[in-house]
């Protein structure tokens, strides 16, 4: 077994872990009792919310290797070597992600505390299933509790997001195809020049 597969605590019970958060590879020094949500917030990723701390409310949801997990149920050290995506990794105020736009458009945000978790659960759902049914949406979000609304607008938001992401994908595919065509033309032009 490689040494790096065993992490040892220092005298104060702290561990140094390596992980990627929103695409940035870095190190965190975390205590043995610290949960992933606590560590992320400590290091400035405050979009991830701490709620019940018992795995019931889902406000601490983050994506670990593209799968939504509960940040409060996971020791921070256990995320060593993982790829974490928090709400900050999706979009910004100036350049929001289509899912974030959809939640605003549908009026699915009231107090907003549960929304980062809901958006990340939605992201994982739409990555896996771009056209979910209402039952599939409700099932995917059943771990993200909202105490303000009745989930109707959130389900609408996911449907809007699905349409947006589909349109975006089409646009990206079209652009890629155009770029490929341009590149092919450039190559054939060069080849023609050479032949001359």
């Amino acid at each position: 077994m490689n040494k790096e597969e065993i992490l040892q605590a220092d005298e104060d019970g702290m561990f140094t872990i390596t992980l990627s958060v929103n695409g940035e590879l870095g190190q965190m020094i975390v205590s043995r009792n610290e949960s992933l949500v606590e560590a992320l917030r400590h290091y400035g990723w405050k979009g991830t919310k701490k709620g019940c701390d018992t795995g019931d409310c889902g406000s601490c949801t983050v994506l670990l290797n593209d799968k939504p997990v509960l940040g409060c149920m996971m020791p921070a050290v256990a995320a060593n070597g993982g790829n974490i995506t928090t709400i900050e990794g999706l979009g910004t105020v100036r350049n929001p992600h289509p899912i974030q736009e959809a939640f605003v458009e549908a009026g699915a945000v009231q107090c907003g505390y549960c929304i980062p978790g809901m958006i990340l659960s939605t992201k994982a759902l739409l990555d896996r299933n771009p056209e979910p049914t209402e039952a599939e949406i409700r099932k995917a979000l059943d771990g993200n509790l909202c105490r303000c609304t009745g989930y109707v607008t959130q389900v609408q938001a996911v449907n809007i997001a699905a349409r947006k992401m589909k349109a975006l994908k089409k646009k990206q595919e079209k652009t890629a195809a155009k770029e490929a065509e341009k590149a092919a033309r450039r190559v054939s032009r060069k080849a023609a020049k050479k032949n001359k």
């Binding site: 077994m1 597969e5 065993i6 992490l7 040892q8 605590a9 019970g13 561990f15 043995r32 009792n33 018992t54 795995g55 019931d56 889902g58 949801t61 799968k67 939504p68 997990v69 509960l70 149920m73 996971m74 020791p75 050290v77 256990a78 060593n80 070597g81 659960s121 099932k139 995917a140 979000l141 059943d142 771990g143 993200n144």
Partner: protein, 265 residues
């Protein structure tokens, strides 16, 4: 406050066993961490994270359905094999457990290794006559799931690691019925869980959530196999529940659910 000094992330079962059996480490095996992650015993000094082990596969081998111990509830819920096997009972059970976020983390191995009355897979696995493949200090051994808890030498997660759960070939086409009675559909804390199989020669009536581990109502099963009238089966079933000292609404609910299953209403 836990006393964890090491976090280990082995990538092979052999490495994991080396740590588990090394007294220096005082290791505790963790997979999803949803049951014990918040209550690590003070005696454990090493958090042995087995999520990197190659134990996630769900496949058919030798006619048996083999589920890797680290397969999550979500993996089982979405597995085509599990959806087809025994009328999809395993996927149905996996989908009824708690929330999607828990289902993404919790594993079938953890659900059977950590005894808890609310765990749902033990009830179904007992009803289906499942077997469990374990890695022990003496190598791999296969034990019937029903006898795992009675074997005092085998403590999954403490002195051995669950590798796979195996479902017998004959269960592929059998019909099972799983009933969970709880406050809400996704509530983890069930009042009672039941799993029935009405196979004529070998019926099974397994009751969960009333005791720390599920139990079979053996006399009621025998009465059913003999073709006894529904009232007699129900009496024997009630006696089995009384024998474990459970009374009140949960006992009544269990009997009523069996009554409904037998069509004796």
């Amino acid at each position: 406050m836990n006393n964890i000094k090491y976090y280990a992330f082995p990538s092979s079962v052999a490495d994991a066993m080396n740590i588990l059996l090394n007294r220096k480490y005082k290791a505790l095996v963790m997979a999803g961490g949803t049951l014990v992650g918040k209550a690590i015993p003070a005696t454990a000094e090493t958090y042995l994270d087995i999520r990197n082990l190659p134990l996630k596969d769900i496949k058919v081998k030798g006619g048996k359905l083999v589920i890797g111990a680290a397969a999550t509830f979500d993996d089982i819920d979405n597995s085509e094999l599990c959806r087809e096997w025994a009328g999809g009972i395993l996927s149905q059970v996996a989908s009824q457990c708690s929330s999607q976020l828990i289902r993404n983390m919790a594993t079938i191995g953890g659900n059977i290794a950590r005894p808890h009355s609310f765990n749902m897979f033990p009830v179904v696995l007992m009803c289906m006559g499942a077997e469990v493949m374990l890695e022990t200090k003496n190598g791999k051994i296969l034990v019937p799931y029903a006898s795992l808890s009675q074997n005092k030498n085998l403590k999954p997660g403490e002195n051995c690691i669950i590798l796979e759960v195996l479902l017998p070939k004959k269960t592929k086409t059998q019909t099972f019925e799983f009933i969970k009675l709880a406050k809400t559909k996704s509530s983890w804390e069930s009042y009672v869980t039941l799993c029935f199989s009405n196979e004529k020669k070998n019926p099974k009536f397994v009751v969960g959530a009333l005791t720390p581990r599920p139990f079979c109502a053996v006399e009621a099963e025998k009465a059913f196999a003999k073709g006894a009238p529904a009232e007699e089966i129900l009496q024997k079933f009630t006696a089995a529940i009384e024998a474990v000292k459970v009374t009140g609404y949960r006992a009544e609910a269990a009997t009523n659910l069996l009554r409904r299953y037998l069509g004796a209403e």
